[in-house]
Amino acid sequence: MSLRQIRVPGRLDQIEVLCVAVDDCAREAGFDDRTRYACQLAVGEACENIVKHGYGPMRRGEILLVARASPGEIQLELRDSAPPFNPSSLPPDQPWTEDNPPVGGLGLQIMHRVMDEVSYRRRLGQNRLQMRKRLVRKPRRA
């Protein structure tokens, strides 16, 4: 298992740095291009929530990514010192029509659809969001 920890200022223009790190982690785990991209997307959404809704325009803080890769699996943890916010619960599916499509909540939807597990805990004054993604193994032919 490999472990990487990357700390960035909690700013929107720093999210890409963490996405690159997630891509590297997913590559080590053996994920294909599209799964790696999906993982980047999910982490990007989580980070955007931290910056925009957690810290907001008036607060300063950092985001720490702890990323672990093992064959076929990645475990990610995002830590921040913003006020408590738990995105591990999937927002209720709001029915929408083509005339009234969804505008909000897309980020959380994406995060939950991509990741196999999303959990949260508050510890030592930090939000800690954990996400896990596993490779889907193709069934063996008889």
Binding site: L12, E16, D33, E48, N100, P102, G104, L106, I110, R113
Partner: protein, 114 residues
């Protein structure tokens, strides 16, 4: 690391094509929004969004696509997608928004649809 985002617009009689290259995310979405709004402000009701060069499309970018589509539909118009990259398509599909947009493999086919 790649640079942000580039946009290029081409006006045709039937529609205006806006090509997007690079990352559409929380740092760049407002540029895309402004460009689309400028096209609408010029009176164009049909927009083709060429996503061939999109390397990253986050929910911020998806929100722009949705709000633009809503605005165009109010005036009897539409925005369609052309040549979407795998990454752009994946973002749209993961978000469940694929049912909202007509999508074509090329600009030419998108133009012909209007």
């Amino acid at each position: 690391m790649e640079e942000g985002m580039e946009l290029n617009a081409h006006e045709y009689k039937r529609a205006t094509i806006l090509g997007v290259v690079g990352r559409v995310d929380s740092a760049t979405w407002s540029e895309l929004d402004s460009a689309l709004q400028a096209i609408i402000d010029q009176g164009q009701k049909h927009i083709i969004l060429d996503l061939a060069g999109v390397e990253f499309l986050s929910s911020s970018g998806l929100r722009v696509l949705v709000t633009t589509m809503k605005e165009l539909r109010k005036v009897g118009g539409e925005m369609v997608l052309a040549a979407a990259s795998d990454r752009a398509s994946d973002s749209i599909n993961i978000a469940g928004l694929d049912v909202l947009f007509r999508s074509f493999p090329s600009r030419e086919e998108a133009i012909a649809s209007f």
